[in-house]
C-alpha cells in the first residue's frame, strides 16, 4: 500500500525470470458452430499485454471480448492463430496456475464459509493448512472482509461476494488476473468503490490484468490501455492508450496506477479519455453536442 513498495519492481524474482510480455495473441480467429450456421466470434486478433499492464477489453455485446478472455484462460480453444501466456501455451499456463480469474457472478460455493471459499484454490493445489490460513487472513484483510471470514456467501451483499471472489482470484499471487465484467451486477456506488479497490490491489500485487467491461468510464479509470472491439465478426477496432493525471507518462505502470485515485474521476483528462474511447467505439468523432459526457 505504501508508495516505495510500489515503486520497486513487483515480485523481483518472478519479474527477472519471466518474459516482459504477459499475454501475446497473434492472428487469432474463433468460430462457433451453432444450429444457425457458423458464428465468427473473433477475427484476426493481434494483441500484446505487457507484464504488470492493466488492459480493458470494451465493446458492444457480441464483439467477442469475453470470448477473447476465455481463450486466454484456456476455457475455450481458438480456431486459428496462437496465444501465449508468459511464453507458454494457455493450457500449460492454466495447469501452472499462472492466472487468477473472476467472473461476473461471484461463483462462491454456498456451503463453504467466506474463508473456506478464498482457501479453495490453495486447498486444491495442496498448500499446507498453516500457510493457507495465514494467506486467507491476509487476502480477506486486503479486500476488507476480515470480520466476515466465518460467514456464508448468502449472508453477504453482492458487492461483498464479489470482493470474496476477487480475494480468491488473488490467492496464488498470479502474475495475470483475468476478469470478466466482475462489477457488472453491482450498483454504481459499490462499483466505484470496487474499482478503486482493484486499482489499489493490482498496484500492490503488480499483476497484469485483462479486464472485460462494457462501461467506458470503468475502462478509462482502471486501464493503462483500452482495447476497443467491434462486433460481427469480433475485431479490434482501436487500442486507446490512457494518459490520466498530468505527468505520469514516464513512471511505471504500477506507480501510475497507485497514483490513480477517486479525484481522477473529475479530472479533465479523464473526460478527454472517455471521449476518446467513445469515439473509437462509434468509429467517428462524436458530435460537438456530446460535450457533457455521460459517465454512465
Amino acid at each position: 500500500m505504501s508508495a516505495p513498495e510500489n515503486a520497486a519492481a513487483p515480485e523481483p524474482a518472478a519479474a527477472a525470470a519471466a518474459p516482459a510480455t504477459a499475454v501475446r495473441v497473434a492472428g487469432v480467429n474463433k468460430v462457433f458452430e451453432t444450429r444457425g450456421g457458423l458464428v465468427h466470434a473473433l477475427e484476426g486478433i493481434d494483441l500484446e499485454i505487457a507484464a504488470g499492464e492493466f488492459v480493458s477489453l470494451i465493446g458492444p455485446s457480441g464483439c467477442g471480448k469475453s470470448t477473447l478472455m476465455r481463450l486466454i484462460a484456456d476455457l475455450d480453444a481458438p480456431s486459428a492463430g496462437t496465444i501465449t501466456v508468459f511464453g507458454k501455451t494457455p493450457t500449460q499456463a492454466r495447469l501452472d496456475q499462472e492466472y487468477g480469474i473472476a467472473f461476473q457472478q461471484a461463483g462462491l460455493l454456498p456451503w463453504r464459509t467466506v474463508a473456506a471459499n478464498v482457501a479453495l484454490p490453495l486447498e486444491l493445489h495442496g498448500v499446507a493448512s498453516a500457510p493457507r490460513k495465514a494467506k486467507v487472513e491476509e487476502l480477506l484483510d486486503m479486500v476488507g472482509l476480515a470480520d466476515f471470514a466465518d460467514r456464508y456467501p448468502d449472508q453477504l451483499s453482492g458487492g461483498m461476494q464479489q470482493r470474496v471472489a476477487i480475494a480468491r482470484s488473488l490467492a496464488e499471487q498470479p502474475r495475470l488476473l483475468l476478469m470478466d465484467e466482475p462489477f457488472g451486477a453491482l450498483d454504481e456506488m459499490t462499483r466505484e468503490k470496487m474499482q478503486s479497490d482493484l486499482v489499489r490491489i493490482s498496484a500492490e500485487t503488480g499483476a497484469a490484468v485483462v479486464f472485460v467491461t462494457h462501461s467506458i468510464p470503468e475502462a478509462v479509470f482502471l486501464s493503462d490501455r483500452v482495447v476497443v472491439m467491434s462486433p460481427r465478426p469480433g475485431r479490434i477496432r482501436e487500442i486507446v492508450p490512457m494518459r490520466l493525471g498530468a505527468s505520469n507518462a514516464a513512471t511505471t505502470d504500477a506507480a501510475a496506477r497507485a497514483a490513480r485515485t477517486d479525484g481522477l474521476r473529475e479530472d479533465r483528462s479523464f473526460f478527454e479519455m472517455v471521449t476518446a474511447v467513445r469515439e473509437a467505439l462509434h468509429g467517428a468523432p462524436v458530435a460537438a453536442g456530446a460535450r457533457g459526457v455521460e459517465t454512465r
Binding site: 484462460a73 484456456d74 476455457l75 492454466r94 495447469l95 496456475q97 492466472y99 480469474i101 467472473f103 457472478q105 461463483g107 460455493l109 454456498p110 456451503w111 479453495l120 484454490p121 486447498e123 486444491l124 493445489h125 456464508y152 449472508q155
Partner: protein, 284 residues
C-alpha cells in the same frame, strides 16, 4: 395467527397439537368399541391391542428386527447402487441413455408383482428375495434424485474448477458431491419408507415366517384381530423409525446450511427462514 406466537409457544403447539389429536382419536375409537359396541373382528379396541402388544412383546420385537434388517439391507444396497449408477450416468451420457429405460421400468414395476417371483427364485427359506425387493424399491428414488443433484453444478463453478486445473476426483469431492448432497439425502429419506413398506409387503407372498408382514397375515387368518393390529402398530413404528433416522441424518449433514447465525434479522424470522430452507430440500 401463528405469526403472533412467540417461537417457544409455536414449538410447544407443534408438539402438543398432534398429541392432542392422537389422544382424541384413540378416545373416540375406544368409545366406539366399548360403548357403541362395534364387534371385535371389525375393529379391536385400542386397549385390547395394547394388551396384545404387551402379551406378545418378544415375538413383536423379533419380527420387527427381521423385517427391519431386511429393509435396512435393502436400503443400504439400494443407496449404494443408486448413487454409483447415478454418478456413472452423470459422467457418461451413454450410461444415462442405456439406463433410462431400465430405471423407468423399475420405477413402474409393482413390488407386489415381483415378490412371488423372487420368493420362488431364491427359495422359501431365504430372506434374499425380500431384501432384493427392498433394494429395488429404494434404488429408484435415490438414483433419480442423485442424478438430478449431480446435474445442479453451475457453469461458473465448473469453469472455476477448470481454471484451477482441478483433477476429476477433486471436482467430485469439492463441487459435484456437495452440490448433490441435499438431493441424495432427500432420495434416501423417500427410499427409507419405501424400503420398509416393500420388505413388509414382500412377506405376504410366502418365504420364511417370522417377519411383521407374515405375522400380520397369519394372525388375521386365524381371527386374532387384536394381535394382527399389534403387529400393524409395530410396522408403523418401524416405518416411522426409518423415516425419522433418515430425516435426522439429513438435518445433521445439512446443518451448516440451516444453523446460521443471522445477525441482520430477528430470531423469529431466522427460525421461519430456517424451516423454509429445510422444506425446499424436502419437497420433491
Amino acid at each position: 395467527m401463528s405469526a403472533h406466537l412467540t417461537p417457544r409457544a409455536e414449538t410447544t403447539l407443534r408438539i402438543v397439537a398432534p398429541l392432542a389429536v392422537g389422544a382424541f382419536v384413540l378416545g373416540v375409537w375406544q368409545f366406539l368399541v366399548s360403548v357403541v359396541g362395534i364387534s371385535d373382528y371389525l375393529l379391536p379396541s385400542p386397549a385390547s391391542i395394547l394388551e396384545e402388544i404387551v402379551a406378545s412383546w418378544d415375538s413383536i420385537v423379533s419380527a420387527t428386527l427381521i423385517t427391519g434388517t431386511n429393509a435396512l439391507i435393502g436400503l443400504v444396497v439400494g443407496t449404494l447402487l443408486g448413487i454409483t449408477l447415478a454418478a456413472l450416468a452423470a459422467r457418461w451420457r451413454a450410461v444415462d441413455q442405456m439406463s433410462a429405460p431400465v430405471i423407468a421400468s423399475l420405477a413402474v414395476v409393482p413390488i407386489v408383482a415381483l415378490a412371488p417371483v423372487l420368493n420362488s427364485m431364491f427359495g422359501a427359506d431365504s430372506q434374499f428375495g425380500r431384501q432384493a425387493i427392498a433394494a429395488i424399491a429404494s434404488f429408484v428414488p435415490i438414483f433419480i434424485n442423485t442424478l438430478r443433484g449431480f446435474r445442479q453444478t453451475t457453469p461458473v463453478h465448473r469453469e472455476l474448477m477448470r481454471a484451477y486445473a482441478a483433477t476429476p476426483g477433486q471436482v467430485l469431492r469439492t463441487l459435484t458431491l456437495p452440490t448433490a448432497r441435499p438431493f441424495i439425502l432427500t432420495g434416501i429419506r423417500i427410499a427409507s419408507s419405501l424400503a420398509v413398506i416393500s420388505a413388509l409387503v414382500a412377506e405376504y407372498f410366502g418365504g420364511p415366517r417370522g417377519g411383521l408382514g407374515s405375522l400380520i397375515s397369519t394372525s388375521a387368518a386365524s381371527s386374532a384381530y387384536a394381535r394382527a393390529w399389534a403387529y400393524v402398530v409395530a410396522s408403523i413404528a418401524l416405518g416411522l423409525l426409518f423415516y425419522l433416522v433418515t430425516l435426522g441424518l439429513e438435518r445433521l449433514v445439512l446443518r451448516t446450511r440451516t444453523i446460521q447465525p443471522d445477525r441482520t434479522t430477528g430470531t423469529g424470522t431466522t427460525s421461519t427462514s430456517t424451516r423454509s430452507t429445510t422444506s425446499t430440500t424436502v419437497s420433491h
